[in-house]
C-alpha cells in the first residue's frame, strides 16, 4: 500500500466528483434558461448550445472515471461467473493496467486531434475548440485513474470514498426484513 498513491487517488476522485456535479448542474441550468429564452422571449444563443453539448462530454468523462472506482463499468464478463473469487481479484489489477494503457493511446490521439483542430479551426469555432480540450483531458484523467487502481494493491479495501451512492441509500431505505435474503 502506498499512502502517496492513495492520497493522489483521493484528490482525483474529489476533482472528478466536483467537475461532474458542477457540469451537470450547469447543463440543467443552461438548458432551462435556453427553454425560457426561446419560448418566452424568442431568443437563442448559439454559444450556449455549443456549451451545453460539450458539457455532456464533460459529464460523460467524469462519470466514466468515477465509475472505474469499484470496477463498476459495463462489462460482458460471462467467463468470470465460472472462475473463483480469488482468481477474479488476481485479474483486476492487470485489467486496470490494460485499461490505463488503452486510455493513454486514446489520450495521445486526442492530443493530436486537438492540435490539428487548433491549426485549422476558423475564428468562429475558437470557443468550441477550447471546450474540446475535454477529449485529451478526459482520456488523461481516465488513464490516470486506471493506472492508480492498477498500482494500489486492493482497491476494494482502499476505497477512500466515504459517501454512500444513491443506489446504496435506496437499497438501505427499502431494506428487506432479516431472514428474507438468505442465499439458496
Amino acid at each position: 500500500m502506498n499512502p502517496l498513491l492513495l492520497a493522489i487517488k483521493q484528490k482525483l476522485i474529489v476533482f472528478e466528483k466536483l467537475l461532474a456535479a458542477v457540469c451537470l448542474l450547469l447543463l440543467l441550468l443552461l438548458s432551462l434558461s435556453q427553454v425560457i429564452m426561446r419560448n418566452l422571449f424568442e431568443l437563442g444563443f448559439a454559444e450556449l448550445d455549443t456549451l451545453t453539448r460539450h458539457l455532456v462530454l464533460f459529464v460523460t468523462f467524469m462519470g466514466a472515471a468515477l465509475i472505474s472506482e469499484g470496477n463498476k463499468h459495463i462489462k460482458i464478463d460471462c467467463v468470470t461467473a465460472t472462475i473463483s473469487e480469488r482468481s477474479k481479484q488476481k485479474l483486476k489489477r492487470p485489467l486496470y493496467f490494460i485499461s490505463a494503457l488503452v486510455c493513454s493511446v486514446f489520450s495521445w490521439y486526442a492530443v493530436v486531434f486537438w492540435l490539428d483542430e487548433k491549426n485549422y479551426a476558423p475564428a468562429s469555432e475558437q470557443f468550441a475548440l477550447y471546450l474540446a480540450l475535454i477529449l485529451p483531458a478526459g482520456f488523461i484523467i481516465l488513464s490516470l485513474h486506471f493506472l492508480l487502481l492498477s498500482l494500489i494493491r486492493d482497491d476494494s479495501t482502499q476505497y477512500t470514498d466515504t459517501d454512500d451512492s444513491l443506489i446504496d441509500t435506496l437499497a438501505k431505505q427499502s431494506e428487506l426484513p432479516s431472514g428474507s435474503g438468505q442465499q439458496q
Binding site: 456535479a21 462530454l57 467524469m62 464478463d77 467467463v79 444513491l166 441509500t169 435506496l170 439458496q184
Partner: protein, 418 residues
C-alpha cells in the same frame, strides 16, 4: 493481428470494461485498415454535435431525483389503492408502478433496488408464493423500457438516427399490451391463493392520489409537452429534470438541496458516463466497420438464406435474444444497431418498428442468463441464486416471448399512428 483481436475478446469476457475492449478494437481496426487512429477521436467528438444527446443526462437526473425523493413509496401506495383490492391486484400494482418508474430511471437496476425491496415484503404479507413474487419482481425491472422518456429509446434514436418522437409514440401500445398480459396472468394465478389485502376504498384512493399527484403529473408533462408540440425533446428533458427537483425539494421536501443534490448529480454522472463512454468509443469502431463494407457483406450473407421480411424478423428475433442474453442493453444498441440498420432497410422493415422490436428483445434479454442484468440485481437484492430467479421468472419470460412475436409480426401495433 488476429491473435491480438482474440486476446481483446478474451479479456472482455474476463472483465475488461466494454468501452476499453471497444476502444482497443477500434485501434486494431484502424491499424488493420491503415487509417489514422485519430478518426476514432473525430467520431467520438461527433457526440458534441448531437442535439438530443443532452436528453440522456437530464432525463436520468429526473429519474434519480424521483428515486431519492420517495417517489417509489408514493407510487406503490397509489397503485395498490387503485388495484390492490382485486385478486392479483398487488401484483398489478407492482407491474404498473415498476413500469412507471423504469420509464424514468432507464432500466438501470434502480427499479429492482428501489421498488423490489418495498414490494417483496408486501407480497409475502399478502400470501403470494415466493416463486411468483421473485419472478414478477425480477421481470418488472425493465417493464417500462418502451414508455417515454425511456433512456434506451433515446439512445436507440440517437444511434440509429430515427425520429425519437416517433419511437416514443410507437412504444406506447406495445408497452401497454405487455402490462395487460402480465396483469391478466397475475389475476389468473392469484385467484387460487390470494385473498385481497383490502377492499376498494374511494377515500384511500383519493388520499393516495393527493399524495402522489405531483409524481403522476410528470409523465403527463412529458407526453403532452412533446406530442402536443409545445416543447422539443431536449427542452422536455430540461423541464422534466427541473420539475422533479422542484417537486422533491420544495413540494415534498424529501431532498435537501445542499446534502442530497451533490450525491444525486454524481450518481447521475456515473450512470451517464458508463453508457455514453461506450457510445463514444464504439462510434469510431462501427464507422470503420461500415467503411470496410461489413454491412454489405452481412447483407450478401443473409441474402443467401433469408428471402422475405418474415424470415428476416424471425432471424432477427433469435439473433437479438442471444445478444440480449450476452450484452447489456445500452452496449447492444451502440454496437449492433449500426450493423443491422442496412439489413432491415433491405427487407423493408420500418426503422421505428425495428427499434421497438430491438428494444423488446433486449428487454427480454434483461432476464435471460448468462448476463441478464435483472437476474444479477435481483440476486443481490433478494439473496437468491441466479438459477432460482431464472426458474421463477420463466412464466413471465414465456408471456414476454408471446408478446415479442405479437409486436414483431403485427406492425400495426407499433405503427398505428402512421
Amino acid at each position: 493481428m488476429i491473435l491480438l483481436l482474440f486476446i481483446v475478446v478474451l479479456l472482455a469476457l474476463l472483465g475488461l470494461p466494454l468501452f476499453i475492449a471497444l476502444a482497443a478494437g477500434g485501434l486494431y481496426a484502424s491499424y488493420a485498415t491503415e487509417l489514422n487512429p485519430s478518426i476514432l477521436i473525430i467520431e467520438l467528438y461527433r457526440l458534441a454535435n448531437q442535439p438530443n444527446l443532452m436528453t440522456i443526462p437530464l432525463f436520468t437526473l429526473a429519474g434519480m431525483t424521483m428515486a431519492a425523493g420517495g417517489s417509489p413509496q408514493r407510487l406503490i401506495k397509489l397503485f395498490n389503492a387503485l388495484l390492490g383490492w382485486m385478486p392479483g391486484g398487488l401484483a398489478m400494482a407492482a407491474i404498473v408502478a415498476c413500469a412507471f418508474f423504469t420509464a424514468f430511471t432507464g432500466a438501470s437496476g434502480v427499479t429492482i433496488i428501489a421498488l423490489g425491496g418495498l414490494l417483496y415484503p408486501l407480497f409475502m404479507q399478502s400470501n403470494y408464493p415466493e416463486r411468483f413474487s421473485l419472478g414478477l419482481l425480477t421481470s418488472s425491472g425493465s417493464l417500462g423500457l418502451l414508455f417515454p422518456p425511456s433512456l434506451a429509446i433515446l439512445l436507440y434514436g440517437i444511434v440509429s438516427g430515427t425520429n425519437i418522437d416517433e419511437l416514443f409514440l410507437a412504444g406506447i401500445v406495445p408497452g401497454i399490451i405487455l402490462l395487460v398480459l402480465l396483469s391478466l396472468y397475475s389475476y389468473k394465478s392469484a385467484r387460487h391463493w390470494h385473498k385481497p389485502a383490502h377492499p376498494f376504498s374511494w377515500s384511500v384512493l383519493a388520499s393516495a392520489v393527493r399524495e402522489s399527484l405531483w409524481d403522476i403529473f410528470l409523465p403527463i408533462l412529458v407526453i403532452v409537452g412533446i406530442f402536443g408540440g409545445f416543447v422539443t425533446i431536449s427542452e422536455a428533458a430540461a423541464v422534466t429534470a427541473a420539475y422533479a427537483l422542484f417537486v422533491e425539494a420544495v413540494v415534498y421536501r424529501e431532498i435537501k438541496l445542499l446534502d442530497d443534490l451533490p450525491k444525486i448529480l454524481i450518481d447521475t454522472a456515473k450512470l451517464v458516463g458508463s453508457i455514453l463512454i461506450i457510445l463514444g468509443v464504439a462510434m469510431g469502431l462501427t464507422n470503420i466497420l461500415i467503411d470496410t463494407q461489413l454491412p454489405s457483406r452481412l447483407l450478401a450473407f443473409t441474402d443467401s438464406f433469408i428471402h422475405s421480411p418474415l424470415e428476416f424478423l424471425l432471424a432477427l428475433n433469435l439473433f437479438l435474444l442471444i445478444i440480449g442474453a450476452m450484452m447489456d442493453i445500452f452496449s447492444a444498441i451502440v454496437v449492433v444497431v449500426p450493423l443491422i440498420m442496412p439489413l432491415a432497410h433491405r427487407y423493408q422493415i420500418d426503422p421505428v418498428h425495428l427499434g421497438i422490436i430491438f428494444l423488446a428483445n433486449l428487454e427480454i434479454g434483461y432476464m435471460t442468463p448468462p448476463v441478464g442484468i435483472n437476474l444479477f440485481i435481483a440476486s443481490q437484492r433478494f439473496g437468491k441464486s441466479i438459477l432460482t430467479l431464472f426458474r421463477s421468472a420463466m412464466p413471465f419470460l414465456g408471456i414476454m416471448l408471446i408478446w415479442l412475436l405479437m409486436i414483431s409480426y403485427i406492425p400495426a401495433l407499433t405503427l398505428w399512428w402512421k
